[in-house]
Symmetry: C2
């Protein structure tokens, strides 16, 4: 009974996706077949009928971006990448789903698999990343396009699920996307009314469509997303026709569609169907093909994407050639930016300071750096989560990024730290050389930690600008005063945390951050609210090494004081007094654990010689993590309790961040 | 021109609130006058006309709860507490706003100021706490009330602002509150269309009312919240009449109302008005009173709250006496629970295990503990953020907490980790002895970190149940595998993190967690996904000490292996091999840094003698923080990079969590 041959070509393609997902999960004995089975039609239609991409050049600049926000359904994406001819996913890769060193990990990872734009899995991140991708497109289009020549012109498509829509981050991102009117953002909501706990009736009965309307989105509904292919196509067509609002298409589907006993149950969400049920599903859908076998007709049809893709890219290359001929200056700027190269001598704008210069908060120095860098780095774009004038992140003269004003570079994220994080990640991962920055108070990294972690994991070159970096914050009190925050961020792999001590070190921090952004590495900068004196001995080069000597004695020190940020000057002042008292003291500025760890052993030994065991760290934050540097015989001036509400200077003094206390602890160590 | 005397009594009261806020901020030269100035009318009406509370017994059980979610407007709350006669806030306290050791810190802190229910400031937390307070009320009412006797019966009122409504957490909380139909939750949205960056036009143009309708809320609008007192009162009255839905009243106000030049600007949000403007404001509102002077009529009117409060409480005590007479068993249970005392021998239900017992994941042991504890601790209530059957947190036989089924104790939070956190905090801070627990994968503490921190800061006795606690998670890959997560949580002050190694230690973890909950201290438990053998030497008592010896040698050890959780058995197995090879090795199980730090120096020395410097920690997580225990001469078996997608056993082996690698590192240390 060769039923399969009676299926339409489209059905063959869609069922190929379904069975690749089912078979891969079955072989891995792990994974999430349910979403790919239900969302296969919308995935097929997107990749086959709408999306412009070139499988043989996944990085082609003007491609439509696709984000699987419901990242657990990764097999949907891998199946589509394989079927449309990406070299990154072969049938063997699919057979190797979720195995060691495979290119088909459990959730889509942009750094593992070409064709995957962003790393998803933690729910809600993908839709917010997609907003960032759409922001990047809108900004570049507004910046570079000419009335007669559209250099930048692509859509951003997302598939998100019930889980994504329950997460607050998706609400934040959808609200700001609606505000911005990002018309080329099209989200398909896989409304399968099942999450891990069962029917969404147990916890999610809101009217999602109405909510998106409230955000200012254009909202559509496809009632039968399982088989009504024409309706899905029509909805996407309609979505494209509305250019001043993002569109959310609610596509009602059945999770695990095709499985006779498990469809529409939580059982098919995150586990293999089991051999018997797979057999029944094959019978149910009349599927005569072996595991991992794709009908030749389906494969050859979907592989037409390769030819289409080549032609899309050729067409764009021709547009680009015209652009280059007509607008050589803009083309050169565009090319330089896209290449990821920094302009020559960009860093010459970064100021340095001497002790004679006015004491200022490092957040003020950060503002200076951003404003010096903005003219030489047009790729710098960002803003704050509603703390612009506290974080001091406005780049003056570059306008506000708003609906219809997409060329502008100051982004108002609103009080939406988490979405800000994921949007910045999306802007960075657009792959167009943009360097996004996102700002809030250091303590509120807690609101956006998942996005910061993803910037580190997914190699998004974002600059996180965090101000009010200690209890020196003052009157706002313990809810606003970071204690453990620096430690908790330093612990994140691949994230460089820098806490500069003065103006020169702030410049050093930006020097590192910009360079790292170009190497697809995020940097988190922690700046003070309060004034700090400038030191003569600080240097940009010192910052690049993470820790360096800023005051020293002759010969081997008896004691090393290690300071960061606002506490470095306590160390240098204390050292002066100790030196005057005949002690041999070294002061090390340690703006970054991470950068110091990257130095060779000889350098580390030169800064913190093993023989010197009397070491005192001074940092207005938790002692957690400091024992690696102060050792078992050292000590810390730190705070391991929550702060208190009072003027910053009072709080600092009361909690022991004073020259007197540093001296007392130093003298105790010296014995 | 004694204009003030021409003001109505209500105006006098409202302007008293406004000027207390203005004068306090002016004196402190720090704070947020804008919100109190605009929200004074709604605050006044709530406290004067609707709320039932007893200023002389702020902890009176059946009081209406009030949450200022827009916590920066703390002076609104302090003014109301002072005016209505709470002893916790005197006029001197108000003069001492935001000063060291004052009872009027920058943001409302429940642990500093009686009458403040929860700690707010980080935006959006308060509205989610309020959902938790309403959950607690609904649950206790359903549990204890009788048709003829309402023992538990109060409202939860919240004032939230634009900032709260931009935060994702508030959307999550509002969605689930709508789902639950919490009719006694009434939120007043101070719609002043100004946030720190200026007009909400720059980032927040969604239709908030429509969004709340989409969540299933009853929504009202007061168009003139500045002066239309009757409309505010009517709206609250209407809100109370709708009993099957929470109500959101959008109250349109002017931030900084009364200030001639700064009203309706961001300038009045978070800074003192300045002497000149305060003077102009006094003229503008015809206010002839000195700073901090409250007109006698206003004070005496508002102080009627004291008499009212006494009578409310007396009335309730009488109800309670009847209840006690009619339903002595229920009254005894209620009394025991409210008192915060645990029932005798509650901990006898916690099982212990021997090496002969079956290897199981510690998450399975957690399930056993929860299900053993549920019958003896009726105050235990909680659930998971849509991972019930992965976290194994269902307490069987206790039903699902749902609309109209509020007596049930299994809460489905949906995929809303952040709201779950804040809701659990609210349940704990209801002060009725409830012990809430909230569960997700350990990695997703990143989504709810701000709420976990607030549990620690605000002394909310919550149990955080976190499973899939390492790269042993396996196939889901690096997005789902904690690396730095344990370190980042251990760094939070006042949060006890416990990572048990087997069944007995899981019981120990719950033993600590339940006891700490009663001491208003949160505990975070980290459980394995994968099977772990049971060890004979583990003990509940050992867990209570944070670290203890589970295998030892004669005399002074040459080497100490320190293991936690799933890696402890690697240590014991390696130690056996080393011992067989003639080495003197000790194994320390260290389920909790925090509990160990709380021990005295002698105990610490007995477990980790200073003389033994060859120490090796083994934990499938970041090395960050471990150097305090392994010292400069020790080493770690740890992972300081992101994980990978593959079966858990493979991932563990590949990243060095094997007996072989422990032996290799141990032998390197032994030299």
């Amino acid at each position: 009974m060769p039923v399969a041959t009676t299926q339409s070509l489209e059905e063959l393609c869609i069922n190929s996706i379904r069975f690749l997902a089912v078979d891969a999960v079955e072989k891995a004995k792990s994974g999430h077949p349910g979403l790919p089975m239900g969302a296969a039609p919308m995935g097929f239609i997107l990749f086959d009928q709408f999306m412009r991409f070139n499988p043989k050049n996944p990085q082609w600049f003007n491609r439509d971006r696709f984000v699987l926000s419901a990242g657990h359904g990764s097999m949907l994406q891998y199946a589509l990448l394989y079927l449309t001819g990406y070299d990154s996913v072969s049938i063997d890769d699919i057979k190797n789903f979720r195995q060691w060193k495979s290119r088909t990990p459990g959730h889509p990872e942009n750094f593992e698999t070409a064709g995957v734009e962003v790393t998803t899995g933690p729910l809600g991140q993908g839709i917010a990343n997609a907003v960032g991708l759409a922001v990047a497109e809108a900004h570049l289009a507004a910046t570079y396009n000419k009335p007669d020549c559209k250099l930048v012109d692509h859509y951003t498509y997302v598939i998100l699920g019930d889980g994504c829509n329950m997460e607050g981050i998706s609400g934040e991102a959808a609200s700001i996307a609606g505000h911005w009117g990002l018309g080329k953002l099209i989200a398909l909501y896989d409304d399968n009314h099942i999450s891990i706990d069962g029917s969404t009736d147990v916890a999610f009965t809101e009217d999602v469509s109405k909510r998106f309307e409230a955000y200012g989105w254009h909202v559509l509904h496809v009632e039968n997303g399982n088989t009504d292919i024409a309706a899905i196509a029509k909805a996407i067509e309609t979505a494209k026709s509305v250019t001043d609002k993002p569109t959310m298409i609610k596509v009602t589907t059945t999770i695990g569609y095709g499985s006779p006993n498990k469809a529409n149950t939580a059982g098919v969400h995150g586990a293999a169907l089991g051999g018997d049920e797979v057999k029944l599903m094959r019978e149910n859908l009349g599927w005569e093909f072996a595991p991992f076998e794709v009908p030749a007709d389906a494969l050859s049809h979907m592989r037409k994407a390769v030819e289409r893709g080549a032609s899309y890219e050729a067409e764009w290359q021709s547009t680009y050639a015209q652009y280059k001929a007509k607008y050589p200056a803009e083309a050169a700027a565009f090319e330089r930016q896209i290449s990821g190269q920094l302009p020559p001598n960009w860093d010459s704008v970064l100021p340095t300071y001497t002790a004679a210069d006015k004491a200022l908060p490092t957040r003020k120095h950060s503002e200076t750096c951003l404003n010096k860098l903005a003219p030489v780095l047009p790729e710098l774009i960002g803003g704050s989560a509603d703390l612009t004038h506290s974080n001091l992140t406005e780049i003056k003269g570059y306008g506000d990024f708003q609906k219809g004003q997409y060329q502008n570079r100051n982004i108002h994220f609103g009080v939406r730290e988490h979405a800000m994080g994921a949007i910045c990640n999306g802007i960075a991962l657009h792959g167009s050389g943009l360097i996004p920055y996102g700002a809030t108070f250091l303590i509120f990294t807690d609101y956006m930690r998942a996005a910061i972690r993803l910037s580190a994991l997914s190699e998004a070159g974002v600059i996180w600008v965090m101000t009010h970096d200690s209890i020196g914050q003052g009157e706002d009190g313990p809810t606003h005063q970071p204690i453990e925050t620096l430690a908790s961020l330093r612990a994140i792999p691949n994230l460089t945390v820098i806490r500069p001590a003065d103006g020169t070190e702030a410049s050093g921090a930006y020097y590192v951050a910009i360079n790292q952004a170009k190497e697809h590495k995020p940097t988190l900068l922690a700046f003070s609210r309060q004034n700090l004196p400038n030191l003569d001995a600080t240097s940009i080069e010192g910052v690049t090494k993470g820790a360096y000597v800023v005051a020293d004695c002759d010969g081997t020190p008896e004691l090393i004081l290690i300071g960061t940020g606002s506490e470095l000057n306590l160390c240098t002042t204390a050292a002066e007094k100790l030196t005057a008292a005949g002690k041999k003291v070294r002061v090390v500025s340690m703006p970054s654990f991470d950068l110091f760890e990257a130095q060779d052993a000889a350098y580390k030994e030169s800064v913190l010689p093993k023989a010197v065991t009397k070491r005192l760290s001074v940092e207005a934050g938790s002692s957690f993590g400091w024992h690696k540097y102060v050792g078992t015989e050292g000590d810390t001036v730190s705070i391991d309790r929550f702060g208190a509400s009072a003027p910053g200077g009072v709080v600092m003094e009361k909690f022991g961040f004073s020259v007197e206390n540093v001296l007392a602890k130093a003298e105790a160590l010296l014995g």
